[in-house]
C-alpha cells in the first residue's frame, strides 16, 4: 500500500509528460484536422456555422482530453459509480426536460450547448462495469447474484435511451457494457442465453418499434424498395462513395454532397463525403488512423497494471472500434441506418465530449499505469 503510494507521488511533471502516448495524441489531432477539412467541405468551401463550431468544439474538447489525462486513475476509479449515476440522472432529466427535435427527445439545453447525455452514458457504463468487475473476485463473476447489478446498470439507461427514441445509441451503449462483461470473464453461456432471450423477445420488440424504425430495417434489407424514401440515404451514400473511385473527386469537388444529394452529411455521413472527395486511398488513410488509435488504446491496456485500467482501456477501445465500424458499415450499406456518429469526425458536441472524456481516462491509465487504484 505504502509502496504504491510512494511510486505515485514520485511522478514528476516531467515523468508525466514523458509517459503521454504521443502517437495516440497525434493521431487524434490529425483526425481532428481532417474532420475540420471535411466539415469545411460540407459548408461548401466556406467557414460557416458548422465548420466554425466544429473547430471550436474540437479544440475545446481536445484540450479537455489533455487536461483530463493528468487526473489520477485512482480518481476515475473511485468516482466511477458517481459518474455513472450523474449521467443516469442527466438521462432521466432528458426524459422530463429534454428538447424534442425531429420526433425524438435526446437533448438537454445547457444554454452554452445542447447536451446529449446518451453519448456520455457510453463512457459512464463502461466506467461503472470496469469498476464493478475490478472489485469482485474471479469466483464470483459467474454467480447469478453478482450478475444482477450489471444487468440493472445496463438495462436501465438502455430503456431510457431506446424510448427517446434512439435505438442506435442504445445499441452502442449496450455494446460497450457487454464488452466489459465479456472481458471480465462472464461465461459465454450467459451471452448465449441472453442472445436467445433477445431473439425470443424480438417479435415483441419489433411491435414496439416506431414505423420509421421498422422501415429502416426493411430498407436496409432492400434499399431499392423505396429509392426516394427510406432507401434514399443508403443509395445516395453508396453512389457518393462508389463514384469517388481510387483517388476521389478532389477536395470540395464532391458533387453528391455539395448538390445536397447526400443526407446528414455533417453527422452520420461525414465519412461518405470524405470518401467521395478523397477516394479509396483517402478512406484507407482514415481507417488507418482509427486503427492506430484503437491499437494505442489496447496497448495502454496491455501496460496498465490495474485490472480496472485494463478493463476500461480494452472495453473503450472495443467500443470505439464498434462506433467506427458501425458508422462505416452503415454508410457503406452493410448495416441499417441506425444513426450513429463517427467518433471525432462527425459534427456533434456531445459525441466529441464523450469520446474525449473516454480518451482522457485512457491517457490517465497510461500516465498512472503503475499506480494501484485501491
Amino acid at each position: 500500500m505504502f509502496r504504491a503510494r510512494s511510486i505515485q507521488s514520485s511522478l514528476s511533471l516531467k515523468d508525466k509528460l514523458f509517459s503521454i502516448d504521443y502517437i495516440l495524441v497525434i493521431s487524434i489531432f490529425i483526425l481532428g484536422l481532417i474532420s475540420i477539412l471535411a466539415m469545411y467541405s460540407t459548408d461548401g468551401g466556406e467557414f460557416k456555422y458548422h465548420t466554425n463550431s466544429h473547430i471550436l468544439r474540437f479544440f475545446v474538447f481536445f484540450i479537455m482530453f489533455l487536461v483530463l489525462s493528468f487526473i489520477q486513475i485512482r480518481f476515475w476509479h473511485s468516482q466511477s459509480y458517481l459518474i455513472y449515476i450523474l449521467f443516469f440522472l442527466l438521462l432521466l432529466g432528458v426524459k422530463y426536460f429534454g428538447l424534442t427535435s425531429s420526433g425524438s427527445k435526446r437533448w438537454l439545453d445547457l444554454y452554452f450547448m445542447n447536451l446529449q447525455p446518451s453519448e456520455l452514458m457510453k463512457i459512464g457504463l463502461i466506467l461503472f462495469l470496469a469498476k464493478y468487475y475490478h472489485r469482485i473476485s474471479i469466483e464470483n463473476i459467474n454467480q447469478l447474484r453478482f450478475l444482477f447489478l450489471p444487468i440493472v446498470a445496463l438495462i436501465s439507461p438502455l430503456i431510457l435511451v431506446a424510448t427517446q427514441p434512439d435505438l442506435g445509441t442504445a445499441l452502442l451503449i449496450a455494446a460497450g457494457g457487454l464488452t466489459v462483461a465479456w472481458l471480465a470473464g462472464v461465461r459465454v453461456k450467459f451471452f448465449a442465453f441472453s442472445a436467445i432471450a433477445f431473439i425470443a423477445l424480438l417479435p415483441i420488440a419489433i411491435s414496439f418499434l416506431k414505423p420509421y424504425q421498422k422501415s429502416r430495417i426493411l430498407t436496409f434489407l432492400n434499399p431499392e424498395r423505396d429509392p426516394l424514401g427510406a432507401g434514399y440515404q443508403i443509395i445516395q451514400s453508396k453512389i457518393a462513395i462508389g463514384s469517388g473511385g481510387l483517388f476521389g473527386k478532389g477536395f470540395l469537388q464532391g458533387s453528391q454532397s455539395y448538390l445536397d444529394y447526400l443526407p446528414e452529411k455533417h453527422t452520420d455521413f461525414i465519412f461518405t463525403l470524405f470518401s467521395e472527395e478523397f477516394g479509396f486511398f483517402g478512406s484507407l488513410f482514415i481507417l488507418l488512423l482509427y486503427a492506430i488509435i484503437v491499437w494505442r488504446i489496447v496497448r495502454i491496456g496491455n501496460i496498465t497494471r490495474s485490472n480496472f485500467g485494463k478493463l476500461y482501456c480494452y472495453s473503450f477501445a472495443t467500443a470505439f472500434f464498434i462506433y467506427v465500424v458501425v458508422n462505416m458499415m452503415m454508410v457503406l450499406g452493410l448495416l441499417p441506418i441506425v444513426g450513429s456518429p463517427l467518433p471525432i469526425m462527425s459534427y456533434g458536441g456531445s459525441s466529441m465530449m464523450a469520446i474525449m472524456l473516454g480518451l482522457g481516462i485512457v491517457m490517465s491509465c497510461k500516465i498512472y499505469k503503475d499506480t494501484p487504484v485501491n
Partner: protein
C-alpha cells in the same frame, strides 16, 4: 489476504488479456470486411456509381430542332419556317401556379378548357420540365407579356420557329405538320430519341415521308442540378442540328395556277416529265389550310373539313381511286396489238351496242360509229370496238399490260396515303371476291369500268410511258440530279431504234426498260391519241391547241358512278341533269407537245360528267402553262448539271 488477492488479480488479468485477444482477432476480420467493401464500391463498381452520380448531377433540357424547308424546283420555299412567339412555363419556378394562371388569363387569350388541360399536364410531369402555355401568340400579346413579366414568375417568353406554308395550293402533296401524338410515339421509332414537348412532326404527304430527315437533330442544354432540382450552372449546350432541306420537282407557279383552275371543284391534276418522272404538279381540290394544323386545329375548322362532301383532306391524285374509264383504251389497244389480236386496220362495225349472252353492252354513241378501226376507235372512243377487241384479248392479257404500265400498284415511295388501286383479272377475282370471271366483266374492263380502279397519278404515269416511246420511268418528287440525261437516252433510242447507244449514254448508269414488244405499236397509240384531240370527231377536238408549240394528244374518259337504266338511255338523259353525286367522274390524260413530247398530264374532275367537257379544258390550260415554263425549267436543269 494480500497474496490471494494479488493472485486473483493476476488470474483475472490473464483472463482479460485472453478474451481481449479474441476480440482483437474479431476486429481484424471486421476491418478486412470494411476494406473489402470499399474495394468493391470504389474500385470494382466505380464506373457504375460514377454514372449514377452523373445521372444525379446532370439534367438535360431538350431543344427542338428547326425543321428543314421544302423548296420547289426553282428553289422557292413551299414549306418554310417563320418566327413564332410562345409562352413557356416552368412550374417549379412559380410560387403559386393558380394565381399565375389567373394573371396570365388577363394578359393572354386562354380558355378555361386549355387551363384545365395545362394543369393536368403539370400534375403529370416533373416540376422542372417546361410546359408550353401557348405556342403561337401575336406580337401584341407577346409584348404585353414581356411588359408584365416581372409579375409572372416561372413564365418564359420564347421566340421559336414553326412551320409556315406560304400557299395552300400544294397542301395535299406537302402534307402538314402537327403535334406529336401518343400513337406517333408508339409507331415511329425515330421519334423515341427525338421527342421534345411541343415538337411538330409530319402527318401526311411529303412532310411525313421526309419526316425522319427533315426533322433535324435534337439539341440539349445540360445543367448541373442539386437534389431539389434547382439548376446550379449550365455545363453544356448543344444547339442541335436543323433538319435537312429538300428540293422537289414541283413547280410552285404551276401548282398555284392549277389550284386556281380547280377552285370549287372536287378534282385532281397531275403533271409529269415523261423522261425522268419528275412530278411537276400534283394538285388536289378542294384544298385546305395547312397552317391551321401547325398550332392545334380549331374544332370548327376541323368539322367543316370532315363534313365537306368534296373531301378536302383526301389527296385525290394519289389516294382517290376511280375507274380509269376510256383512258384505259390506249392500253387495251396496245395490249391487243402486242398480243397480235388485231391489226391496226382491222375493222368492226359499231351499231351502238352489242349483245352477249342476252346482255346488252352499249356504246356511249347511241347511234353507233359505223365502221371503226383502231385509230378511229380511240379517236371517237368507240365502246363497241373495245368490247370486241377486249373480248378477244381476254382480261388476263389486258391486266398484264396494264400492270406493266404502272396501274394497280403504288408508284411513289413513302406516301402512306397513296393507294394501289385494282387491275382485275381472273385470279384476282377468285382471290378477293371468290367468284369466277364472267366474259361480260371482260367487256366492262375493256372500257375501264367494272373492277378497275386507278389513281390520277397512275393514269399520268401510264400516259407518260406511252408518250416517251414506251420506256419505264419512276415518278419522283424529290429533286435528284441523277437520271436527268434519261431524256437524251430515250430521245436517241426513239430516233435511232436499231442502233446501239453511244458510249457516253451507255456510261450513265441507267438501264432502259422497254415496256413494249414492238415500238411501232406505241407510235400507233400516240397517233390515235393525236387524232382524238386534233382531228374533227375526236372526243376532245373542241379543246385542242392550234399552236404547234402546245399541241397535245390525249384521251378522254369518264368513270361511271351509276349505271344508266334503259329508260335513261332512251331518254338521252344528260349528265348535267343528274344529281351531283350521280354524275360520272370526268377524266382526261394527254401528253404535249405532240411533235416533241415532254410532259404528260392527267386530270380528274369528280362528278364532272364527260371527260371531253369537264377535264380536257383544264388540261388544255395547264399544258400551256407548263410548256411556257419549260424553257425556264431547262435552264435550271442545265445549271444544276454544270454544278455537279
Amino acid at each position: 489476504m494480500l497474496s490471494p488477492s494479488s493472485g486473483n488479480t493476476v488470474i483475472k488479468s490473464k483472463l482479460i488479456s485472453r478474451r481481449m485477444f479474441l476480440l482483437t482477432a474479431a476486429k481484424a476480420v471486421v476491418l478486412v470486411g470494411i476494406v473489402g467493401r470499399l474495394v468493391s464500391l470504389q474500385i470494382n463498381e466505380r464506373s457504375k456509381y460514377k454514372t449514377l452520380s452523373d445521372k444525379n448531377r446532370f439534367r438535360e433540357w431538350k431543344l427542338a430542332p428547326e425543321r428543314g424547308v421544302i423548296k420547289d424546283f426553282f428553289n422557292k420555299e413551299i414549306a418554310s419556317n417563320r418566327q413564332v412567339y410562345q409562352v413557356h412555363l416552368i412550374p417549379e419556378n412559380s410560387k403559386d401556379i393558380e394565381k399565375l394562371f389567373v394573371r396570365l388569363k388577363t394578359i393572354l387569350n386562354i380558355t378555361d378548357k386549355k387551363l384545365f388541360y395545362l394543369k393536368k399536364i403539370i400534375a403529370k410531369q416533373k416540376p422542372w420540365e417546361p410546359i408550353i402555355v401557348s405556342d403561337n401568340i401575336t406580337w401584341s400579346e407577346f409584348s404585353r407579356l414581356n411588359l408584365f413579366l416581372h409579375e409572372l414568375e416561372g413564365v418564359k417568353p420564347i421566340v421559336s420557329v414553326a412551320r409556315m406554308y406560304p400557299d395552300n395550293s400544294s397542301a395535299h402533296i406537302l402534307g402538314y405538320v402537327s403535334q406529336v401524338s401518343a400513337k406517333d410515339l408508339q409507331n415511329k421509332k425515330y421519334l423515341k430519341e427525338l421527342h421534345v414537348p411541343g415538337m411538330s412532326i409530319g402527318k401526311t404527304g411529303l412532310e411525313r415521308k421526309l419526316d425522319e430527315e427533315i426533322i433535324g437533330k435534337i439539341g440539349f442544354q445540360r445543367y448541373e442540378v442539386n437534389a431539389y432540382g434547382k439548376r446550379i450552372k449550365q455545363i453544356q449546350i448543344n444547339e442541335g442540328q436543323a433538319g435537312k432541306s429538300f428540293k422537289t420537282t414541283l413547280d410552285f407557279e404551276v401548282q398555284k395556277f392549277t389550284n386556281e383552275l380547280l377552285k370549287d371543284k372536287a378534282a385532281a391534276v397531275c403533271v409529269m416529265d415523261i423522261y425522268n418522272g419528275d412530278i411537276i404538279s400534283l394538285v388536289s381540290s378542294p384544298t385546305f389550310e395547312p397552317n391551321q394544323f401547325v398550332h392545334g386545329l380549331e374544332k370548327k375548322y376541323w368539322n367543316s373539313l370532315i363534313k365537306n362532301e368534296m373531301k378536302p383532306l383526301t389527296n385525290k391524285a394519289i389516294s382517290g381511286l376511280y375507274p380509269p374509264g376510256s383512258t384505259i383504251k390506249t392500253l387495251v389497244a396496245l395490249s391487243a396489238l402486242e398480243n397480235g389480236i388485231i391489226k391496226p386496220l382491222d375493222t368492226f362495225r359499231c351499231k351502238g351496242k352489242i349483245e352477249l349472252y342476252g346482255e346488252k353492252f352499249h356504246c356511249w354513241e347511241k347511234d353507233g360509229h359505223g365502221i371503226v378501226n383502231l385509230r378511229k376507235g380511240i379517236q371517237r372512243s368507240c365502246d363497241v370496238y373495245f368490247y370486241e377487241i377486249s373480248r378477244k384479248l381476254g382480261v388476263d392479257r389486258l391486266s398484264e399490260t396494264a400492270k406493266r404500265f404502272g396501274l394497280g400498284k403504288k408508284v411513289l415511295d413513302g406516301f402512306v396515303e397513296e393507294r394501289a388501286g385494282v387491275v382485275p383479272n381472273t385470279k384476282w377475282k377468285k382471290k378477293f371476291i371468290g367468284q369466277n370471271w364472267y366474259l361480260g366483266e371482260t367487256l366492262h374492263s375493256g372500257i375501264g369500268q367494272g373492277y378497275f380502279q386507278s389513281t390520277p397519278l397512275q393514269l399520268c404515269l401510264m400516259t407518260a410511258q406511252i408518250a416517251n416511246g414506251g420506256f419505264e420511268i419512276k415518278p419522283r418528287i424529290i429533286f435528284d440530279e441523277k437520271n436527268n440525261n434519261l431524256r437524251d437516252y430515250i430521245k436517241y433510242k426513239n430516233e435511232n431504234p436499231n442502233e446501239p447507244l453511244p458510249t457516253d449514254l451507255l456510261l450513265s448508269n441507267f438501264e432502259l426498260n422497254p415496256l413494249f414488244k414492238n415500238q411501232e405499236h406505241i407510235n400507233l397509240i400516240k397517233d390515235a391519241m393525236f387524232s382524238s384531240s386534233n382531228e374533227p370527231g375526236g372526243t376532245s377536238y373542241r379543246h385542242r391547241w392550234e399552236n404547234k408549240k402546245f399541241t397535245f394528244a390525249g384521251k378522254t374518259g369518264s368513270s361511271q358512278i351509276k349505271r344508266f337504266t334503259e329508260a335513261q338511255r332512251e331518254a338521252e338523259v344528260k349528265q348535267e341533269s343528274l344529281p351531283y353525286k350521280d354524275r360520272d367522274h370526268a377524266l382526261f390524260v394527254a401528253f404535249a407537245p405532240y411533235n416533241d413530247p415532254k410532259y404528260a398530264i392527267s386530270v380528274l374532275v369528280e362528278h364532272g360528267g364527260s371527260g371531253g367537257k369537264a377535264a380536257a379544258p383544264i388540261a388544255k390550260k395547264v399544258i400551256k402553262k407548263v410548256l411556257e415554263r419549260h424553257a425556264l425549267r431547262q435552264k435550271i436543269n442545265s445549271l444544276s448539271g454544270e454544278s455537279i
